[in-house]
Structure formats: C-alpha cells, structure tokens
C-alpha cells in the first residue's frame, strides 16, 4: 500500500478536478466544503472528492503538500486553485469557468467521484 502522502499526491496529480472536503457530496459536513462543491457544480466540472474527516493525518499530509492550511482545497489539473472563498470569487468573475474549460475542454461531462484513501493503522 502506498503511503497516505503518496495517495494524496496521486489524487491531486491524476484527477482533473480534485476537492478535498469535510464529508462527501452526499453528506457534506461543512458549509465551506458545500460552497466549493456548489461552485464546481456550477461550471459543470467533473469532481473527484476526498473526505478528510476519517483521519486527522489526511489533513496534515495534505497541508504539507499544498502549503494551504484550511479545508476545503480545490485542485484543477494538479494546480491548487484555493479554498471556498477563492473558488467562489473565481466563479463570480467567470475565471473558474475559463480555468476549467481550458484545463479540461468544454465538451466534458459533469461527474462526481469519491475517493477513499487507505489508512495504515495509527
């Protein structure tokens, strides 16, 4: 099994749009995670989510990799876009649509995928 850090890096690298959030799209556990999710929905992005709540190590490792201390975190094609505030601001300005269109092409299909990380025993 790859390390937690490797699994997180792989999600960031390989998923077109990755959202690290509290909860899942079916059961969002935080208003800010919902804000980021809704903004990504609004631009028709395929979204891959990772729930950071199952283990505090997920959040720690993620912060190490991204240099970003808070949740949620949105990545498009491996690039950190920001948290809920920036994602909403970019939605309002049209930049989120442009960024996602540029990165993924405009004929993409909206989709939701949930990735569960494998955790080694503490």
């Amino acid at each position: 099994m790859s390390t937690l850090s490797e699994q997180i890096a792989e999600v960031i690298e390989k998923e077109p749009v990755a959202l690290f959030m509290k909860g899942t799209p079916q059961m969002v556990m935080c208003g800010n995670s919902q804000r980021a999710l809704s903004a990504l929905h609004a631009v028709g992005a395929p979204i891959t989510t990772v729930d950071i709540l199952p283990d505090p190590r997920i959040r720690q490792e993620l912060a190490e990799i991204s240099g970003w201390p808070t949740i949620p975190q949105v990545f498009v094609k491996g690039e950190l876009i920001g948290g809920a505030d920036i994602t909403e601001e970019l939605l309002a300005s049209g930049d989120l649509q442009r960024k996602v269109d540029e990165a993924l092409g405009s004929d993409r299909a909206p989709d939701i995928k949930v990735v569960a990380l494998e955790l080694a025993p503490a």
Binding site: N32, W68, P69, T70, G82, D85, I86, L90
Partner: protein, 77 residues
Amino acid sequence: MEAETIRALLEQAFPNAAELDVEDRTGTGDHFQVTLATAEFDGLSLLDQHRRVNATLAAPLRDGSIHELRISTKGTA
C-alpha cells in the same frame, strides 16, 4: 480568540493596509471573516494573497483557535 487579536496580527504584518476588517461571524470567537486591501497585493494572484494572510495567522490556524477563516483580499490598484 478575540477578533482584535487577529486584527493586531494582521496590522503588524500589513502596516500599510488601505482596508482591514476582522469580523467574528458567529460571536463564538472561532469563525472569522478577514477583509484586507493593501498595495502589497497589487499584481499578486488571489491564491498568493490568501497565502500571505494564512501565513500571518498560521499559529492560531494550526492550534485550532481559528476554526473557520473566510478571507476577502484585494490590491489597491
């Protein structure tokens, strides 16, 4: 944590801010809205502007005194 404490940290880091406001959104001392405009942010991406604010508040973010931080930043140009 008091909004004033956060405000003091930000004032120290951004002494020339054109606009600085810290609001305790819930009245519980752990959900804050920071609004900051400074010429230092001219030409910086939103991501980098937020990184500067996060770095200034790294300690209270790390130890959980700030449970939620909303940030609104801009330059002055």
